[in-house]
């Protein structure tokens, strides 16, 4: 090893805590970058492999019922490569361990031909082989949530008939990577599952022999998806087609894509902030190091070392920090990535979801952090090159100061000496002060983001579950039924109130724009499930009015008062053009509402409902559930509290984990910056402070002079940071908001308080460490040093 390198290692050892602080900040940014990029690769690979191997379809459609002969027409559409038709029906289940009824969808597995598209992946058991009847395949998420295994019995109510089934296998399917009740943003795997039965048995039970009610298509290379969709819609219209759509509107696929998109956004912004801070920290550490080593540099130059050699010496110093930072960052990225991959398993069901390290990202991280370090060290190294040996041998002349602006404006009377020193110091090196303040403000801001995210989610859910949905349970009927069904529900034990509703699939059109969605018919003065206006007050549904969410308004480019056309995709398939009565609160994305009777008039099928919102008295809850389980016309049951609990177990935990990771990183950055600033201030002022100690100032007096400047900068940085953080949170939330999820920007006092607390603590602890170092200062030695 060259002797100069030995010097490098010893210098690094002497500066270890500061170098480590820089490396740690760097590592946080890189860990986040490597973690998110690796997760994107993991999800991408798992999804692409799964979709390809199990032939995930590209166009999907639901319909009322079409004869099998329609298949040929569909296969003949130009651009269609393969056609898969099937039967999908709702089912209610009776699980012995579950008090409430569970529900789900049953798909048909073809008996006489192999499945072409959306092929099943068998996790355990078998795929309905052999000839035994009444067997069923169960989706893995539901099976895990309810501890079901192959061979277990399961009771299902199919089309009003109770059947005792046996589980043959546990499976996954590419169209159910994200498995949630249709229209629900959150998974509830305990009470909602996906099942598969032999086509023959299912068709018999639902009188769908020789017919199908779902369609999946794959496309030939070069085919136009919109043209195929238009043709499918035309062919299926007479059979109650609900409108075909591509992968970009497929509910499970959207969720996977959204997740990757969010990760993509996070993989860039956060690391950029962290690395900028690291660059600044490198700069301040290296500038100080070079100032302290002025004489050494002069001697090296006097002995004939080239500028290049000396410059490289200091660049290597910075690069060593980069190596430590990148190693720690890679390690952290892998550890957190592995943890998050495990967590994704709760939401996304792939045959295999393995952590795939983004090697490209590691190289990118190395390049990015090297660039940050080089930018940081460049100015300091340039100083070394410019330094002439003779000049450098002399001690540096005293730094020149002048009265601070505040003093020149005549406020000197009110300024204490230590405050004057701090102000003059700030004015002499304004960039150092500005960078420190901005870096501290960034650290404060980063602390705001994860908590804003958490508060936003919490707010939506509280709003949704406490303000909008006041029912205990939502029950949907197997098929539209008479108004008295709601009355029947109100006769169940413990029912306080039952409000009927009707949901119907529609297409809403304005000019060239159209959307397919559900139109909800709700009773006029609803007490349970209410439509909330943008002022967070319940909206009155008028006899003929249409209320849509603002997200839908944006999507169709319409405002209240504009006319839209509603094409009903069911029954008599009527059309109506009506004005928009108002916008509703749109946390849940696109949605539309009408008064129940007005909707029924539009549909022209008489007073019919598809379900009821029910509020149940606490004491009779179990009796209510027992009776409900025996009610054949109830197909789907959503229990608000079960949903809430399931959310707390899954989504809340995962948001919690992400939040903890991000908060910890932000906290590390905050400490890193403040600690580094304090150490540099101590190093720069050691001689001055030692002089004051010798002249009779106490440790406390001198300490307050040392930290005074830091406190001033932190005090400026805090409000600035809260402001920057709010802006960053708003940008981030806007960037990840989708049509299905609209996260509100919630900036709570506790969020601000937390950020303030962390920065204050970081400042206090760093100041304490600096003061302790100050007290250990060798007074005699510091006095002799001449800088």
């Amino acid at each position: 090893m060259e002797l100069l390198d030995l010097k490098l290692l010893r210098d690094l050892k002497a500066l270890k805590s500061q170098a480590f602080a820089v490396a740690l900040v760097m590592a946080c940014g890189l860990a986040m970058m490597i973690m998110t990029r690796s997760l994107i690769r993991s999800l991408d690979q798992a999804r692409d492999g799964y979709y390809e191997k199990h032939r995930f379809a590209e166009v999907f459609a639901g319909l009322k019922r079409a004869p099998d002969s329609t298949r040929e027409k569909l296969a003949a559409i130009p651009g269609v490569a393969a056609v898969e038709t099937g039967v999908e029906v709702s089912v209610t289940l009776d699980l012995p361990d579950l008090l409430e009824p569970a529900s789900g969808l049953i798909n048909a597995v073809p008996d006489r031909r192999p499945t072409i598209l959306n092929k099943l992946y068998l996790r355990r058991g078998n795929l309905l082989e052999g000839s035994s009847r009444l067997e069923v395949l169960v989706s893995e998420a539901f099976a895990e949530a309810n501890a079901l295994n192959p061979g277990d019995p399961i009771a299902a109510i199919l089309n009003g008939r109770r059947l005792e089934l046996r589980i043959a296998g546990i499976v996954l399917a590419p169209q159910y990577v994200f498995e949630a009740r249709p229209g629900s943003a959150l998974p509830d795997n305990k009470t909602f599952g996906i099942f598969w039965m032999r086509e023959q048995e299912l068709a018999e039970a639902f009188n769908l022999e020789g017919a199908f009610n779902t369609l999946a298509l794959s496309l030939a290379p070069g085919a136009s998806e919109p043209e195929v969709i238009a043709e499918v819609d035309r062919i299926l219209e007479p059979y109650g087609g609900l409108g075909a759509y591509g992968r970009s509107e497929h509910p499970s696929n959207i969720r996977v894509d959204d997740e990757i998109r969010v990760l993509d956004g996070l993989s860039f912004g956060f690391p950029l902030v962290f690395l900028s801070v690291a660059a600044f920290m490198t700069h301040s550490v290296m500038s100080r190091q070079i100032a302290l080593q002025r004489e050494q540099i002069a001697i090296l130059k006097a002995f004939g070392f080239a500028n290049r050699t000396i410059a490289w010496h200091y660049i290597k110093f910075a690069l060593l920090i980069v190596i430590v930072g990148t190693s720690l960052g890679t390690l952290g990225g892998f550890i957190f990535g592995l943890k998050l991959v495990d967590m994704y398993h709760l939401f996304f069901r792939f045959p295999r979801l393995e952590f795939v390290p983004a090697t490209g990202a590691i190289i990118g991280a190395l390049i990015a952090s090297s660039a940050a370090a080089l930018i940081g060290v460049a100015g300091a190294v340039l100083k070394v090159v410019k330094l002439s040996p003779a000049e450098a041998m002399r001690p540096e002349p005293p730094a020149s100061f002048r009265p601070a602006i505040a003093e020149r404006l005549g406020f000197s009377k009110w300024l204490t000496v230590s405050l004057r020193m701090a102000l003059r110091n700030v004015e002499r090196k304004p960039w150092q002060a500005i960078f420190t303040t901005v870096a501290l403000a960034m650290a404060t801001g980063i602390l705001i983001i994860p908590n804003a995210f958490r508060d936003g989610v919490r707010h939506i859910l509280d709003f949704q579950w406490d303000v909008v949905q006041r029912q205990t349970v939502t029950v949907s009927l197997v098929e539209p039924g008479p108004m008295r069904a709601a009355h029947d529900f109100s006769q169940l034990p413990g029912v306080v109130l039952a409000e009927p509703f009707r949901t119907v699939p529609i297409e809403m059109v304005s000019g060239q724009r159209s959307r397919r969605l559900a139109l909800h018919g709700i009773v006029k003065d609803a007490d349970l499930n209410r439509v909330m206006g943008q002022d967070n007050l319940p909206l009155q549904l008028e006899q003929s009015g249409l209320i849509i969410s603002e997200a839908l308004g944006d999507s169709l480019e319409v405002r209240p008062g504009d006319l839209v056309t509603i094409n009903v995709l069911q029954g008599k398939r009527r059309s109506i053009t009506i004005p928009i009565g108002g916008f509703s609160q749109d946390f849940a994305g696109i949605a539309s509402f009408m008064e129940l009777h007005a909707l029924n008039r539009l549909l022209g099928e008489g007073d019919r409902i598809t379900g009821a919102f029910i509020s149940v008295a606490g004491g009779q809850w179990e009796a209510f559930l027992r009776e409900l389980k025996e009610t054949p016309q109830a197909s789907g049951v959503v229990i608000k509290n079960a949903m809430r609990q399931s959310f707390r177990k899954t989504t809340a935990e995962s948001i919690g984990l992400i939040q903890v990771i991000y908060s910890s990183f932000a906290t590390i950055v905050a400490f890193g910056i403040v600690y580094n600033s304090a150490r540099i201030a101590l190093s720069e002022r050691a001689r001055e402070l030692a002089t004051l100690r010798v002249l009779g100032f106490s440790q406390g007096d001198v300490g307050s002079i040392l930290v005074g400047e830091l406190v001033v900068l932190a005090a400026i940085a805090l409000p600035l940071g809260l402001w920057i953080g709010s802006g960053m949170a708003s940008l981030l939330i806007q960037s990840i908001n989708t049509e299905t999820v609209r996260l509100p920007l919630v900036l709570s006092a506790s969020n601000y308080a937390y950020a303030t607390l962390v920065i204050t603590l970081a400042t206090a602890i760093s100041a304490l460490i600096a003061c302790r170092k100050l007290n250990q200062l060798d007074l005699v030695g510091a006095l002799k040093a001449t800088e």
Partner: protein, 243 residues
């Protein structure tokens, strides 16, 4: 803050007996002071001569309360400096001792006046900043920052800072070490004038033997041992010294 240092009968201000200081231990031990005995009466100007490494700075640091001895005793007006704790030493330095350093050690971000003011703010009975500046003949440079002053001027500000609190003990460590002869003379004249006018016990350490002429008493140090070299009945003014 009240001083923990009690008043004492008016005899020798500083008394050292068998004072020793050893750095390190075992084979690496450096004996900087080897049993120094010293009595410094009030009002004298004492010059301590010695080569570098002879132990004179160590002795000055012990007298000034910057360091603790490893053996012997050191008393100021009967108060045990050697046994004092950190707070006691801080009070001692604040109330009793004035320091002048070789490299001035002014606070670069404060003007001449503020450098002095900083000290008078924490003193019990300081003179005014202007008086202190007048004593070193720098009234017209009061609002200059250190970077705007010559080396000699900076050292005179440092002297004004040291004496503004009316210390009983003024300790000067190579006060002219970083200055040319002409400037050094100005600085020494200031020190001598203050010693005569205020009666501060002044200890100047130097390796320049010529300074012996200005002292009441001269000690020499070598290898950690102290010897009284000379007592001047009539110390000479700095201006008359042969440089």
């Amino acid at each position: 803050m009240t001083s923990p240092i009690p008043p004492a009968p008016d005899s020798s201000l500083v008394v050292a007996r068998e004072l020793s200081k050893t750095y390190g231990s075992g084979n690496a031990a450096v004996h900087a002071l080897r049993g120094v005995n010293l009595d410094l009466p009030k009002g004298e100007l004492v010059v301590l001569l010695g080569a570098s490494g002879s132990g004179k700075s160590t002795l000055l640091n012990l007298i000034g309360g910057l360091d603790n001895p490893t053996g012997g005793s050191l008393h100021y007006r009967g108060w045990n400096v050697a046994q004092a704790d950190e707070a006691g030493l801080t009070a001692y330095r604040r109330d009793v001792v004035g320091f002048v350093f070789q490299f001035y050690n002014l606070i670069a971000s404060l003007t001449a006046r503020e450098n002095i003011g900083l000290i008078t703010e924490v003193s019990r009975d300081p003179m005014s900043t202007d008086d202190a500046l007048a004593l070193v003949d720098l009234t017209n440079r009061a609002n200059h920052f250190p970077a705007q002053l010559s080396g000699g001027e900076q050292q005179r500000v440092a002297i004004a800072r040291a004496i503004a609190k009316r210390p009983e003990l003024l300790l000067c460590d190579e006060p002219t070490g970083a200055l040319d002869v002409k400037t050094g003379v100005l600085v020494l004249e200031a020190i001598q004038r203050i010693n005569r006018e205020i009666g501060t016990l002044t200890v100047v350490i130097t390796h320049n033997a010529i300074l012996a002429e200005m002292a009441d008493r001269v000690f020499t140090m070598s290898d950690g041992r102290l010897e009284l070299a000379k007592v001047n009945a009539n110390p000479r003014p700095v201006g008359e010294l042969a440089w």
